[in-house]
C-alpha cells in the first residue's frame, strides 16, 4: 500500500510531469475552437470496427486522419461549416459524406463501409502502403498483419507467432520454440496483449504454436521498438492482437476439420444491439498417441459478447482460455526402433518422459465511449491467469547400474489490472492521449528434483502507471512527445520519456525517428544454459532491485517507389543499460525457486533493417534484410567482457510472397535465410575415475567441458515453404459446404522444407573428442493439407 512518504514523493516527482501535460493542454486551448467531426468506422455487413481506415477532408489533401484500434477518428480544425469527407479502407468501397455544422461546431457520425467487389488485379495481401495519412505515420518500426497476410504465409498459416518471424527484426530463439527475440532482446522483454490484456506465455507445446485462433483475430499490430508512452512494462516490443466482436447481420463462421486439429468459429447477432463471437480449437495428436503411447492434446477457446447501447457506447465482455496436456514417452518408439535394428538391449532399459500442463485464462470487460465528439474513452478491467507445470525424466540402466533423474518446474502468474485511457483531439494538428493503469500481481515459481521438493517462493507486487503523449502536426512534420510514469511496489518512481518524429518530404519520401526510455519490473530470464529448448518464459518480479532498463534510438526512412510498393530502412541502436541473468554458480533448483541470486549486467544491440513490400500485378508480399549485432556483459562471465548474445542472428533475409493466379487459386511461398546463433560448444572433456571396492575395478566416466561463453556460431539456416489455397468447385468438400449452406470451402496444401537436401543443423551433440553429431528437425519435405468451410 502507498504510505504518506511515498505519496509525497509522487507529488514531487509528478510535478514535472503535470507541468508538461498542462503545457500541452494550454497549447490546445490557445488556438481556439473550430469545427471538428469524429466518428466510428465499421463494416456495413458485420458491424466490426475498422482499424486504420483513412478519413480525408475533400479538396484538402493535407487534412486527414485514420481510425484508431477502436475504429474511432477525429478530424478537427475544419475551417468551414460545410465540408465533405472521403472515407476509404483497403477492400472496401470508398464513401463520401457531406457534413453541415448547423447545430454546433462538433459533429459525431457513424460510417459504415461496404466491402468492395474485388477485382483479380486488386487482390493484395499486403496492407496499404505509404499513402496513408494521419497518426500512423508517426509509428516507426511498426508492422501490421491482417489474418489474410498471415494465412498467405505457408509456414505461418493460422499462427501469429510463426508469421511475425518473417518480419525484419523478429527472430526465432530456437527452432523448436515459439519464443521470438526482437532486435536482439530476450523473449521475456516482449509485451503480448490480447484485446489490451497482458498474456503470459501464449504458446502451445505441440507444434510450438501460438494459442490464438486465427479465425478470431481482427488485426495484429507489432511495434518492434520506439513505441509510445501508451505502452510499457517491457523493454523490447509490443504485440497487440485485437479480436472480432461478432457479426451483427447474420450467423457467419468457419469450420476446419483435419486429422490433427479441428476448429470452429461462429459470429452472430443477439437482438438488435448485441453480437457474439464463439470459437474453439482442439488439437489431438493421433500419431503421437499411436507411436509414442502418449496422451497429448491442446485446446483454446474464445468468447466475446458486445453490446452497443448506442453508436457512442460499446460494452464488451471477452473470455479466452487455453490448455495444453502433454504426455510424451519416447520409450515405446525407441524400443520399436531398437528391435527393428537389432539393438533391443540398448533401449529396453531407457525411459525418456515429458509431461506438461499449461493453462491460460483471460476475462476482461471493456467500455468504449465517445464522451464528446472529440473525446474518446476506453476503460478496461481484466484478469490474466497462467499456470505451467513441466516435468521431464530420464531413466536408464547400464550394466546393472541405474541412472534416474527428473525435474519439475512450476510457475503461476495472476495479473489483475484496470486501465483507463482517453483520446482528446480538439485541433487538427494536436491530439492528446493520456491514461492510467493499475495492476496487482501474484507470481509463484517452484521446482522439484528427482521428485523431491527443491523449494519455491511467491510474490505479490503491484504496479501503478500514468502516461500522457501529445501528437503534434506542424506542416510536413509530426512529432509526439510523451512520458510514462511508473510506481512499482514501494520503489522509486520511474519516469520514462518518449519521442517520435516524422517528416514528410517531397517525392513520397518520409523520414522518421524515435527515442525512448523503457523500464521493466516483471522480467524473465534466459534459461538457454539450463534447458535443452526453452519453451516458456519463467517470470520474475524484481523486488528491491532497480528495473531492467533500455534506451531506444531509431531513425528510418520510407519511400513509395511505385504505385503499390514501398521501400523502407530502419537503423536502430538499443542501449541495454540494465539487464539481469542467473548467477551461474547457483544450482538450477535455486534459480527456478526464484532465488535472489541474479546478476546485473548490461548490453547493447544495433542493426539495420531493409524492407521492400507491396504488390505487382498478381504478386504481393515483402522482402526484407536485417543486419544486427547484440552483445551482453556480466561480471561473472568472461570477467565482464562483452560477448555475442545467445539470440543474435547477424544476417537475415526473409520473404513472403503470394501469387493470386485466379480469383479461386492462390500460390504462396515463404523464405528465410539467416545466420546461426552463437552457442557455448563443448570443446574438451574430462575423465572422472571412481574406484569400486566390490570389484576392485576403476570405473570411469566422461564429462564434456564448455569453452568460452558462446564460443562458436551455428551454421546458416535456410527454409523455403510453398503453399496453395484453392476455393473448391467440386468434390466431397464442396458438397459438404453446399449441404450446410456455406458460401465457400477451401483446400489448403502446404509443402514445408522444400530445401531439405541442404540439412539445417539445429544442435550438435558431442560424441567424443572433436567429434559432434549434427541434429536437424526436418530431414524430408512435409506435405500438409487442410480444409475450411466458410459460411
Amino acid at each position: 500500500m502507498l504510505d504518506f512518504r511515498l505519496i509525497a514523493h509522487i507529488n514531487f516527482s509528478m510535478s514535472r510531469v503535470v507541468i508538461v501535460i498542462l503545457s500541452m493542454c494550454i497549447s490546445l486551448s490557445v488556438f481556439g475552437q473550430r469545427y471538428s467531426v469524429s466518428g466510428i468506422i465499421s463494416d456495413a455487413q458485420t458491424g466490426e470496427t475498422l482499424v486504420g481506415a483513412s478519413v480525408l477532408l475533400k479538396d484538402s489533401q493535407l487534412k486527414g486522419t485514420t481510425s484508431n484500434e477502436n475504429g474511432f477518428f477525429t478530424l478537427a480544425g475544419i475551417l468551414t461549416s460545410n465540408v465533405e469527407i472521403a472515407v476509404s479502407f483497403v477492400g472496401y468501397e470508398s464513401q463520401l459524406r457531406s457534413i453541415d455544422f448547423v447545430d454546433g461546431n462538433k459533429v459525431f457520425i457513424e460510417i459504415k463501409l461496404h466491402p468492395s467487389k474485388v477485382l483479380l488485379s486488386e487482390i493484395n495481401v499486403v496492407e496499404e502502403g505509404g499513402d496513408k495519412l494521419g497518426d500512423r505515420e508517426i509509428e516507426i518500426s511498426r508492422h501490421s498483419l491482417s489474418p489474410k497476410v498471415i494465412q498467405s504465409i505457408p509456414t505461418a498459416r493460422n499462427d501469429v507467432f510463426k508469421a511475425i518471424r518473417y518480419l525484419p527484426g523478429v527472430e526465432s530463439t530456437e527452432p523448436m520454440s515459439p519464443l521470438v527475440s526482437v532486435r536482439g532482446s530476450d523473449p521475456g522483454e516482449n509485451l503480448i496483449m490480447l484485446d489490451g490484456v497482458t498474456i503470459y506465455n501464449p504458446y502451445h507445446f505441440i507444434s510450438s504454436s501460438g494459442i490464438f485462433n486465427m479465425q478470431t483475430i481482427k488485426n495484429v499490430e507489432l511495434l518492434i521498438g520506439g513505441f509510445g508512452a501508451e505502452y510499457g512494462g517491457r523493454n523490447s516490443s509490443v504485440m497487440n492482437i485485437s479480436t472480432k466482436d461478432g457479426d451483427n447481420s447474420a450467423l457467419h463462421g468457419e469450420i476446419q476439420p483435419t486429422t490433427s486439429e479441428s476448429k470452429i468459429f461462429m459470429e452472430f447477432p443477439i437482438g438488435k444491439k448485441s453480437t457474439m463471437m464463439v470459437a474453439g480449437r482442439l488439437n489431438y495428436d493421433i500419431m503421437g498417441n499411436m507411436m509414442l503411447d502418449s496422451r497429448s492434446y491442446f485446446y483454446d477457446m474464445n468468447l466475446s459478447y458486445t453490446y452497443r447501447s448506442n453508436p457512442r457506447n460499446t460494452f464488451s465482455l471477452k473470455y479466452f482460455g487455453s490448455g495444453d496436456r502433454t504426455k510424451l514417452s519416447f520409450n515405446t518408439l525407441y524400443r520399436y526402433l531398437g528391435n527393428s535394428v537389432g539393438m533391443s538391449d540398448v533401449f529396453n532399459d531407457m525411459n525418456i518422459e515429458w509431461r506438461n500442463r499449461w493453462n491460460n485464462y483471460i476475462v476482461t470487460g471493456i467500455w468504449k465511449s465517445v464522451l464528446a465528439p472529440d473525446f474518446f474513452m476506453r476503460a478496461q478491467v481484466y484478469g490474466s491467469l497462467h499456470n505451467a507445470d513441466n516435468f521431464s525424466a530420464l531413466d536408464f540402466n547400464i550394466e546393472g547400474m541405474g541412472f534416474n533423474s527428473s525435474t519439475q518446474f512450476k510457475s503461476k502468474v495472476r495479473d489483475w489490472s484496470a486501465k483507463l485511457s482517453f483520446d482528446y483531439k480538439p485541433l487538427y494538428w494536436n491530439e492528446l492521449n493520456f491514461g492510467a493503469e493499475f495492476s496487482k500481481y501474484y507470481f509463484y515459481n517452484g521446482s522439484a528434483v528427482n521428485k523431491v521438493d527443491a523449494g519455491s517462493s511467491d510474490r505479490s507486487p503491484y504496479l501503478a502507471v500514468a502516461y500522457a503523449e501529445d501528437k503534434i502536426k506542424l506542416g510536413a512534420m509530426q512529432f509526439r512527445p510523451g512520458v510514462r510514469v511508473t510506481y512499482y511496489n514501494n520503489q522509486d518512481l520511474s519516469i520514462e520519456p518518449r519521442l517520435n518524429l516524422t517528416i514528410n518530404l517531397p517525392k513520397n519520401l518520409k523520414v522518421q525517428a524515435a527515442w525512448g526510455k523503457y523500464a521493466q519490473y516483471i522480467v524473465s530470464m534466459n534459461t538457454q544454459e539450463f534447458e535443452f529448448n526453452q519453451l516458456l518464459d519463467y517470470y520474475y518480479p524484481l523486488i528491491n532491485r532497480e528495473p531492467g532498463l533500455s534506451y531506444h534510438y531509431i531513425v528510418g526512412a520510407e519511400k513509395k517507389i511505385l504505385r503499390d510498393q514501398t521501400l523502407s530502412i530502419d537503423l536502430y541502436y538499443k542501449d541495454i543499460a540494465r539487464t539481469y541473468t542467473f548467477d551461474m554458480l547457483q544450482s538450477q533448483y535455486e534459480t527456478f525457486a526464484l532465488s535472489e541470486k541474479i546478476i546485473e549486467g548490461r548490453g547493447r544491440s544495433y542493426g539495420v533493417e531493409l524492407l521492400w513490400k507491396g504488390s505487382y500485378k498478381l504478386l504481393s508480399g515483402w522482402l526484407g534484410y536485417t543486419y544486427s549485432r547484440s552483445t551482453r556483459s556480466f561480471p561473472h562471465i568472461l570477467n565482464g567482457q562483452e560477448y555475442d548474445y545467445d539470440y543474435e542472428r547477424r544476417h537475415s533475409i526473409k520473404a513472403a510472397i503470394n501469387f493470386q493466379a485466379t480469383p479461386r487459386i492462390a500460390y504462396s511461398a515463404s523464405f528465410i535465410a539467416q545466420s546461426g546463433v552463437p552457442r557455448s560448444m563443448e570443446t574438451t572433456y574430462q575423465t572422472h575415475y571412481v574406484y569400486d571396492p566390490l570389484t576392485g575395478n576403476m570405473l570411469h566416466s566422461m564429462q564434456y567441458v564448455n569453452g568460452l561463453k558462446n564460443n562458436v556460431r551455428m551454421p546458416w539456416l535456410f527454409y523455403l515453404d510453398l503453399g496453395l489455397q484453392k476455393k473448391l468447385v467440386g468434390g466431397f468438400g464442396r458438397e459438404i459446404a453446399e449441404f450446410f449452406g456455406a458460401n465457400e470451402s477451401y483446400l489448403t496444401v502446404n509443402v514445408y522444407n522444400v530445401l531439405f537436401f541442404r540439412r539445417n543443423i539445429l544442435y550438435y551433440y558431442p560424441m567424443g573428442y572433436d567429434l559432434f553429431f549434427p541434429i536437424s528437425d526436418n530431414y524430408l519435405p512435409v506435405v500438409a493439407a487442410g480444409y475450411t468451410i466458410k459460411f
Partner: protein, 354 residues
C-alpha cells in the same frame, strides 16, 4: 553454406515465380462451351413448353472440374452450354406435329461430372427433372419426377467436348422414350425399367449419410464412422462411395485406420429395405498393448486392412431419417512380420440420412 549458395536459392525462387509473372493472366479459369447434344431430337411425340431452371448458379452451367496445367498447377475448367439451359431444353425436343401433348419441365438438377482414370475418363450425367402435363388451356398438372444417373466411358485421347455431346444425346433419347412410355402407362408392365420415375412425387435432394457401424467378433470389436453423399436412386442396383474412419480393438493391439474409397453396392428390395455390400481397403496405425512384454518392431506400427460387410438395412426410399442395419463383417488385416489375420463378426449399423 557448402551445398547451396544464396545464388542457387535465388534461381530456385525465380524458377518458381517467374513463370507466374509471365503467364499469370492465362491462368484464369478456362471455359469450355459444349452444344446441348449433336442436334435436336426430331419428330417427338410431345413437345416441351415451359422449362424452369431451379438450379442455383449460372443458368448455362453444366459442369466444373479441375485440371492440371503443366502437370501441377490446378486450374478450374467450367463447362457451359451456349445459352441458358432452359432454352436449350425447349429447343432439343422438336415435335412432329402441332397436336402432340405439351409438357413443362422443372430442372432441379442437371450436372455432368468428370472422373479420370489412367486410360479412360468417365462422364456421369446426374439429372432430376420434374415434369408437368400442360393442357390446352395452359393449366399444368404435376406428372412426376425423373431421376437420371447415366455414365459414359470415353478414351482419354478422344475429344472431351464430344463426350459431353454424346452423353447429352444418350440421355435425351432416353428421356423421350421415358415420357412416351410413362404416358402410355407402360410402367405397370415392366416396373423395373421405370425405377427412376416417381409418379406424382416431388423431387428430393441427394442425401448426406452420417453413419456409425459397430462390429463384434470372437476376439475383436470396433466401429466404422462414415460420411457420404447419396444421389437419389435411379435404379434398383446402385453403387455409392464413402470415406471411413475405423477403430478396432484386437486382443493385443488397438488400431485406427482410414479408407478413402469405400465401395458400397446396394440392392433395394422394397421401399423400406435395402441390401448393402461394403468393401473397404484401409491403412492405419497399431498401438500394441503388450509392448512392454513383447519386442515389437517399428514396422509393426503400420496396419493394412481389407474388409467386407453385408447388411440388411431399414432405409426408406426418398425419405430422410434414421437408418438401421444388421449383418456380417469379414476383416482381413496384415501387419509386417506377422501372419495375415482373418476375423468374422456381427455388425450393427445406425445412420442418419439427412
Amino acid at each position: 553454406m557448402k551445398n547451396v549458395t544464396p545464388i542457387k536459392i535465388y534461381i530456385i525462387l525465380c524458377a518458381i515465380f517467374l513463370p507466374s509473372l509471365v503467364f499469370g493472366q492465362k491462368w484464369v479459369a478456362d471455359t469450355l462451351v459444349v452444344s446441348f447434344g449433336k442436334s435436336a431430337i426430331p419428330n417427338c411425340t410431345f413437345s416441351i413448353g415451359k422449362v424452369f431452371d431451379s438450379r442455383s448458379g449460372s443458368p448455362d452451367f453444366l459442369s466444373i472440374f479441375e485440371h492440371k496445367k503443366w502437370l501441377y498447377f490446378p486450374v478450374d475448367q467450367v463447362v457451359v452450354v451456349p445459352s441458358p439451359l432452359a432454352g436449350e431444353f425447349s429447343q432439343k425436343f422438336i415435335a412432329g406435329s402441332d397436336s402432340v401433348p405439351l409438357y413443362g419441365v422443372n430442372v432441379a438438377r442437371f450436372v455432368i461430372n468428370k472422373k479420370d482414370t489412367n486410360r479412360n475418363r468417365n462422364l456421369s450425367l446426374l439429372a432430376t427433372l420434374e415434369v408437368y402435363n400442360v393442357s390446352n388451356t395452359g393449366d399444368s398438372v404435376f406428372f412426376g419426377t425423373f431421376y437420371y444417373e447415366q455414365i459414359l466411358k470415353q478414351k482419354k485421347k478422344e475429344m472431351l467436348s464430344l463426350g459431353y455431346v454424346q452423353i447429352i444425346d444418350d440421355w435425351a433419347r432416353r428421356f423421350v422414350s421415358d415420357i412416351v412410355s410413362v404416358d402410355a402407362g407402360l410402367t405397370a408392365l415392366n416396373p423395373d425399367n421405370f425405377y427412376h420415375f416417381r409418379r406424382g412425387e416431388r423431387s428430393v435432394n441427394k442425401n448426406l449419410y452420417a453413419s456409425v457401424e459397430m462390429f463384434y467378433g470372437f476376439n475383436f470389436y470396433g466401429l466404422d464412422a462414415e460420411l457420404w453423399f447419396s444421389e437419389p436412386e435411379a435404379s434398383q442396383i446402385f453403387q455409392r462411395n464413402s470415406g471411413a474412419f475405423r477403430f478396432v480393438n484386437y486382443v493385443n493391439s488397438q488400431s485406427v485406420a482410414l479408407g478413402r474409397q469405400v465401395g458400397r453396392w446396394n440392392y433395394r428390395f422394397s421401399n423400406n429395405w435395402l441390401f448393402t455390400n461394403k468393401v473397404m481397403l484401409l491403412l492405419g496405425l497399431n498401438r500394441w498393448k503388450d509392448h512392454k512384454q513383447v519386442a515389437h518392431k517399428f514396422e509393426e506400427i503400420f496396419l493394412f486392412d481389407a474388409s467386407m460387410s453385408q447388411q440388411i438395412n431399414y432405409n426408406k426410399l426418398d425419405k430422410t431419417g434414421f437408418v438401421f442395419g444388421v449383418g456380417l463383417v469379414e476383416d482381413l488385416h496384415y501387419v509386417i512380420h506377422r501372419k495375415i489375420n482373418f476375423n468374422v463378426g456381427l455388425s450393427f449399423n445406425c445412420a442418419y440420412k439427412f
